[in-house]
Symmetry: C2
């Protein structure tokens, strides 16, 4: 039942589980390596999500374009803060990126103590909230980017991407990066659920 | 340690946990009532989410308005299928509602067998996906509804809610209903995480 010495030397998480150790020690050690593997994969996914979330925020936040022609009174310029949805996108993705950085210590605790349910439960709850925020930002920005590309004839909203090509390209890239972060979050949640599962 | 006769008579989930029963029977029975309570609350929340999800889809799907004046060649009419984002909203919310109906049997299984991890794990994974779809639909529609209400002077997109008031009111209601569903989903996921937790 005990496969290797590394799995036997595992430190116990708290005094509560120490008290129960004689009862459930055998089934816990059985899948120690499996849970540790999940925790390490969790940390790697989190690092990838930090990169994509901050790339999305930075790409959207630096998107502005000034057209090379102007009239005496007006200069044609597009910036992300002309559209409230894009402002929300930058703020939300920055929050998600900041949360992911702050969640790294908890993920490391889950590697060191694969059987501690507390940090993992906290991560599941906060990940769910961050996933919602991230999806909301990405989907709202995608709806506006679609409008900017295609316009809408029924409501007389014209496409602006014919004039502001670079602006639209940067925005589209930011939306794609945010949806990659969403996919990583879904994986993170599924992994955490598997790690919490009792055997 | 065993509080009542109802908790002792609980049926075991599978042959695997039957094999381990002598080892971990005591800690399992300890929190049987607590897990059963979570499972019943899960079913009630699911029923509420079905109502709000289908109300959102129906409210958006029936939103159209014909203005009482027209020219010889053109009649002023707004419908949800003029905007691709609203079409996506109706489809996504209908899918979420359908998923919630199909998830009811698994929720009932979780009430009958509070210690079976399989159905609960399946529900967590599918709930995460449904939460993402639901949030995406709600946020994208919210971005368009905001534009319809306020317009945007930088991109020359005019507000259409001054003309199509009833249309906008129905859409706004649908967006609110979809965000209520999102909140219920977040609660469902947190509850499932607590139920999966090992004591």
């Amino acid at each position: 039942m005990m496969k290797g010495s590394t799995e036997i030397d595992m430190p116990e998480s708290s005094s509560v589980s120490k008290g129960k150790a004689p009862l459930i020690a055998a089934p816990m050690n059985e899948n120690g390596g499996y849970k540790k593997g999940i925790a390490i994969f969790d940390l790697i996914l989190r690092l990838a999500a930090i990169v994509t979330a901050l790339a999305a925020a930075a790409s959207m936040g630096t998107s502005d374009e000034t057209l090379p022609f102007f009239t005496q009174s007006f200069q044609f310029q597009a910036s992300y803060d002309d559209l409230p949805t894009f402002q929300f996108f930058v703020i939300a993705m920055a929050i998600v990126g900041g949360y992911l950085v702050l969640s790294l210590p908890f993920s490391i605790v889950a590697i060191v103590r694969p059987h501690a349910a507390g940090p993992r439960l906290l991560l599941i709850i906060l990940d769910t909230v961050a996933l919602s925020l991230n999806t909301a930002a990405g989907a709202a920005a995608a709806a506006i980017v679609y409008l900017a590309h295609n316009g809408n004839s029924s409501t007389n909203w014209l496409a602006i991407c014919l004039q502001y090509g670079d602006f639209c390209r940067k925005n589209s890239g930011a939306v794609v990066a945010s949806f990659i972060t969403v996919v990583i979050f879904v994986f993170l949640l599924v992994l955490s659920a598997f790690a919490l599962r009792r055997h």
